[in-house]
Structures are given as C-alpha cells and as structure tokens.
C-alpha cells in the first residue's frame, strides 16, 4: 500500500474576483522511502497542493479529492484534532523561507522541544537530549549553545537546518520540503540538499521535494512529477524523464538547464504561468508551446498512457516512429 495517495485533488480559492483554481485534478502517489520531486514554475500550485494535504490552507480554499489518504488514514474525513496528531509527527513540512518560518520571539531550542512535547511522551531532560541530538544530526555546531539562540541571531542556512531538525524531530514517515533551498545561496543549497537526502537514506522516510530547479531534481529524486498551472502534466522516473521527456513543457524546462544550453544565452520559456484571468482554452500550456496548433488551443488534452509518462498533451514527444504514423 502506498504511504500517500492523492487522486484528483483540486483546490479552489474564493477571491474577491471570483473562484480561482490553483490545483486542478492532481494525482500524487508516494511509497515508503520514496523521493518524489515536484517541479514547476512559480505559481503552478506546488505549495498549495501540499498545504491542502497538511490542512494548512486558509478557509478561503475549497478542497476536493477522490482520494487523499496517508498511511491508510483518509485525510478528507479526519477531524481537526485527529489531523493535528498526524501533522508534525508522521507527516512534516519545511518551508521556503527559513528566516520568516521560525518564530522570532522564541529560542530555536524552545521551538524544537515544542514539537517533542506535543507528540512524544518524553521528560524535560529527554527532550533536551533529543534536541541536542537533532542539532548534531542536521550539522549545527555547538548544539548546546545554539539551542538558546533566537532565529535572527543565525544565518539563513542555519535556520533552515533548525527547520529540518524541527521537522524530523518526531521521526516522520513523510517529509515535505517546499523549495527548501530557494532562499539560500548556492553553496549552502548543496549542503542542505545533501543533508535532506542523507537523512532520507538514514531514516528511510519518504521525501517530497518541491522545487523549480531541474538541476536539483537530477541529483536527488527518484521520480519526478511536473506541474503546470495547477495540473500535473507529466510524471516519470528521473532517468527516463531526463532522456526522453514526453511533454513539451518538461522538454522546455530541461532545455533551460545551463549544462544543456547550446548557445551562450540560456534559453528560457517565453511567457508566464497563466493566472486567474488569463487561463487559455484547451491545453493550458498552448500559448507558450512552440508545437501547439488549433487542436491544442481548442481541446483540453487527456493524459497519455503510463508509458508516455501520463503526459497531458495531444502530441507527446519521444514517441516511436510507428506510433507516430498511426
């Protein structure tokens, strides 16, 4: 049985100017010990889908799904109190901005011990011991001293380590890392990713890594789900995805990788992800797709079969010649 299974998840926001669909019939499946990367540009609904699962969206959001289960528990029907027993313990999340994600008024030690106090049956001493152990695990030097420090007294990288320590404090089975390195500088980014994959290996937890950086995906993930304007447009294991992408959007993301660039100028995908007001008819990627024709602009494509990465495209790439002929 899969650890996490989401089928046909949609999230609508009630906004002043009407309903806005931020996530559109999305499927996610994660097995124990899996590393799934979710990639997509800014605004493609990566965070919203994960927040929906954690129950952290504001009340303006309406969540619908055919299935949303974690470890056999139906997340759609749990009460708020039951959900609070799961999130932070079995299912934890770390966020994009380490600096603003920690409470400025409490020491980092307090914030870590708080998770332990909430979910684990531990004495004061044990909590303190465990906090030190966690700091060592995430590579924070002088843990004993650092526990008494406030977030603003540490660097962004250190704060993200604290966030990670906090998230893994109760040994979760699923860790969701929402662009954990975007706010950090490049050298620190590599360290944090290494830390995350290392922890994943050591603890055997499943990891969902949200990112818009294909480079990060190549180094860490086992499977990749590509998200565009709230929809999943393709999903494949890492290697085949990099060698034969089936959706033009995936191909465009890959072409934008520095090491794949053929000219001096880095290619980028023209245009932006459609928002609330400029959602096109037919395929959502059609206005930016070099291969789009009238059919793409009129009719919304179905998902292709498993062998084609379930690409949501009328004209998937990397299809064998005979199939093309049909």
């Amino acid at each position: 049985m899969a650890l996490l299974r989401i089928r046909n998840l949609s999230v609508d926001f009630a906004t002043a100017s009407g309903k806005f669909r931020a996530v559109d019939s999305m499927d996610v499946t994660v097995d124990r010990g899996d590393i799934l990367a979710i990639v997509g540009e800014s605004g493609s609904g990566k965070s919203v889908s994960m927040l929906a699962m954690m129950g952290l969206l504001p009340w303006t959001a309406t969540i619908t799904a055919d299935e949303m289960s974690f470890d056999g528990i139906d997340l759609r029907s749990v009460t708020a109190a039951q959900r609070r027993k799961i999130i932070g313990r079995d299912m934890a999340m770390i966020f994009q901005e380490p600096m603003s994600s920690l409470n400025p008024c409490f020491t980092v030690g307090f914030q870590i011990r708080e998770s332990l106090r909430k979910h684990m049956n531990m004495s004061r001493r044990e909590r303190h011991q465990r906090a030190i152990e966690l700091f060592e695990q995430v590579g924070i030097p002088e843990p004993e001293k650092r526990l008494g420090v406030f977030p603003h007294q540490m660097s962004g990288g250190m704060n993200q380590r604290v966030m990670i320590a906090m998230a893994i404090a109760c040994r979760p089975r699923l860790l969701i890392a929402d662009e954990p390195t975007t706010a950090l500088d490049v050298t620190i980014q590599a360290q944090i990713l290494e830390l995350l994959t290392g922890l994943q290996r050591d603890t055997g937890m499943a990891l969902i890594l949200i990112t818009h950086d294909m480079g990060v995906v190549a180094e860490t993930a086992q499977r990749v789900s590509v998200q565009y304007a709230g929809q999943k447009v393709e999903e494949q294991p890492v290697r085949p995805l990099f060698s034969t992408p089936h959706h033009p959007y995936t191909a465009a993301l890959l072409a934008a990788l520095p090491e794949r660039a053929t000219s001096k100028i880095l290619p980028s995908i023209p245009g932006v992800v459609p928002g609330q007001f400029d959602r096109p008819k037919g395929c959502l990627f059609s206005p930016r797709c070099s291969k789009a024709d009238d059919r793409c602009r009129e009719i919304e494509p179905e998902n292709q079969p498993e062998e084609l990465g379930r690409a949501k495209c009328h004209y998937p790439l990397g299809v064998n010649e005979p199939e093309m002929a049909q």
Binding site: G88, F95, K118
Partner: protein, 335 residues
C-alpha cells in the same frame, strides 16, 4: 540592553525641561490673577495687592520667576500651595495613591478584557463577534466620559442600587492610611466588609476610566494579531500540529504583544487626563480633583508642581514600557 535603557533615559532630559516650561507657562496664560482670586468677593486695596505681589514675587520679570522655579525644582522644592500653605510635594503624595489605585484598576480592566477580545476578534475575523466587537469599540472610543459615567451611575447606582456614587469607601469604616491604596488598607484593617466596600466604590470609576483604553487595546490587539496571523511562522506552528489555542495564544499573541505593549504604555498618558474628569464625577479624592480645584483657584505652585509630577510619572511609565518592550522583543534584548 543597558545601552538601550540609557539612550531611552537620555530622552528624559529635554522632555523634563520642556514640561517645567509648559507647566509654568500654562497656568500663567490663563486669565485671572491668583491674588485677586484669593481675596475673593471683598477685594483688596492697591497697597495690599502690591505687598502680596512682592511677597509672591509676581512683581519681578517673568524669566526671573521661571529661573527661581526651575532652580527650586532641581533642588526638589516644588513650593507651597497658596491656599493651604502646605508643600506641593506632600499634598501630591497624600493624594497620588488614590489616583494610582484608580488608574491601575482601570488599566487592569482594559487589559484583561481588551487583550482576549482583540485576539478572539482577529481569529474570527469578519464573523459576528468580530464585527460586534469592533463597532462597540468604536462607540467606546468616541464616548464622552462624562455622559458614560452618568449613564452608568443612573443604571447601577440609581436604578439597581448596586454601587455607591462617590468616594473611596463607605463612611462606616475608618482606619489609618498605611499604603494609601484603599484595597490594601481595607484588607489590613481587618474590618468586616471594608474590602468589599472599597471594591464596590472602585468598580464604576474604573470602568468609566478604563473604557477608552479598553477600546484602544482591543482594536490594537486585533490589528496586531491579524498582521501576525498571516506570518510564515504561524503556518510553521500549525504544521507542528499545535492546537489553535497554542498557535493563537502563544505563537501569535507573543508577537502581537510587542506593538500592543506600546499602546498600553501610551494610554497611561490618556488615563491621567481621564482621571481628572472621572475623579471629579465620582468625588474621588485623588490628584485629578486636586489639580482641577487648583486651576480654578489659580494656585500656581500646585498646578505647576502637579503637572510636572504627573508628567514625570508618565515618563517613568513609558520608560518601564520601553524596558518591557526590550524584554519582550528578543531583537532588542540581545543587542
């Protein structure tokens, strides 16, 4: 932290001199001559007037008078009341505890109700409680104290007969002043019912005086909470699986308190102003009533000295708030 404290303390100095100047000037720009007022209806001869003028030093240039006053103040001498001939200093400290007790109770009333109300309103933003509270707060904020006091007196003292209309304690009780705080003194006296009587006398004036601060604190808490609730660290707190009480009451409120503390400090100044009116309405024997009487009598030393001492008190409160602010905001504390 020490440096922060000292820099705040330094701002004290110009304010202090400013207040001596303003309090000195304030009473003198009011029309009316203290000697004539003292003489009353009978009036007095020109010679006697000149004599008294010289005695009080009014015949000298105004700047010299100010200089005398200032040097006196710096030596801790605030002069004597024209009317009672007692030192201003002594009169002030005899009456100040009554005002302080009233102000403290008003503040406790405002904070104990205002903070939770603001928090609940922010958490239930846009719902019925929030809208009711905010419109009530607006009414409370713009309510004329005088009218509000009369309304409460009519209902609670008049119609219901629950509370007394004036004074600090029933005439049935008599005991020595030890601390000057009636709640404490009445307890220490050990007399049956004395404490309850003191409480009864305090309720209405405290509510009247605390209403505006209550409205201000509730509104400020709400807006500070709203700001804080959209912060990333609140999402983190919720992601830990913390209950709403812990998220709102600990993680959010702790941050929202930083601006609210400032507002509480500032409303002490408003409270001192409101005390004058409230004390007059309820015949509360505090410095508010004392100051008002002195203004009518053109009792220069009392008005000057009283204003100065009140200002110093407000400054001390603000300094305390600044220190508290430093403690509650780690970004300042660790500097």
């Amino acid at each position: 932290m020490i440096k922060y404290f000292l820099s705040k303390l330094l701002t004290f100095v110009p304010t202090f001199f400013g207040v001596t100047l303003i309090s000195f000037a304030f009473i003198r720009v009011l029309p009316g001559d203290p000697i004539i007022v003292m003489a009353g209806e009978r009036g007095l001869s020109d010679e006697r007037y000149a004599e008294l003028s010289a005695e009080y030093g009014f015949d000298r240039p105004i700047l010299v008078q100010y200089w005398d006053y200032l040097t006196g103040v710096l030596q801790g001498d605030l002069g004597e009341s024209f009317v009672t001939k007692k030192p201003v200093w002594d009169e002030f400290f005899a009456l100040f505890p009554a005002t302080l007790e009233l102000a403290l109770c008003a503040m406790v009333f405002a904070v104990v109700l205002g903070l939770p109300a603001g928090v609940i309103a922010a958490v239930n933003r846009g719902k019925l409680f929030d809208r009711t509270l905010m419109s009530t707060a607006l009414v409370g904020y713009s309510m004329p104290i005088f009218w509000w006091a009369l309304l409460l007196i009519i209902v609670f003292s008049g119609n219901l007969g629950w509370t007394p209309v004036s004074g600090r304690i029933s005439l049935l009780y008599y005991f020595d002043t030890l601390t000057g705080f009636m709640l404490i003194d009445s307890l220490l006296s050990g007399q049956d019912g004395a404490f309850m009587s003191a409480v009864n006398h305090l309720v209405l004036p405290s509510i009247v005086l605390g209403t505006i601060p209550l409205a201000v604190i509730a509104r400020q808490t709400r807006s500070a909470m709203l700001e804080v609730l959209s912060e990333d660290y609140i999402r983190t707190a919720r992601a830990k699986g913390l209950a709403p009480v812990e998220v709102n009451g600990l993680h959010a409120l702790r941050n929202a308190l930083i601006p609210v503390i400032t507002v509480i400090g500032l409303s002490v100044g408003t409270l001192m102003g409101g005390a004058i009116l409230t004390e007059t309405i309820f015949s509360w024997p505090g410095i508010g009533k004392w100051m008002l009487d002195s203004i009518f009598r053109r009792d220069y030393p009392v008005v000057q000295g009283g204003l100065l001492l009140i200002a110093v008190f407000v400054m001390i409160v603000n300094l305390t708030v600044d220190v508290l602010y430093g403690f509650i905001n780690p970004k300042i504390r660790k500097r």
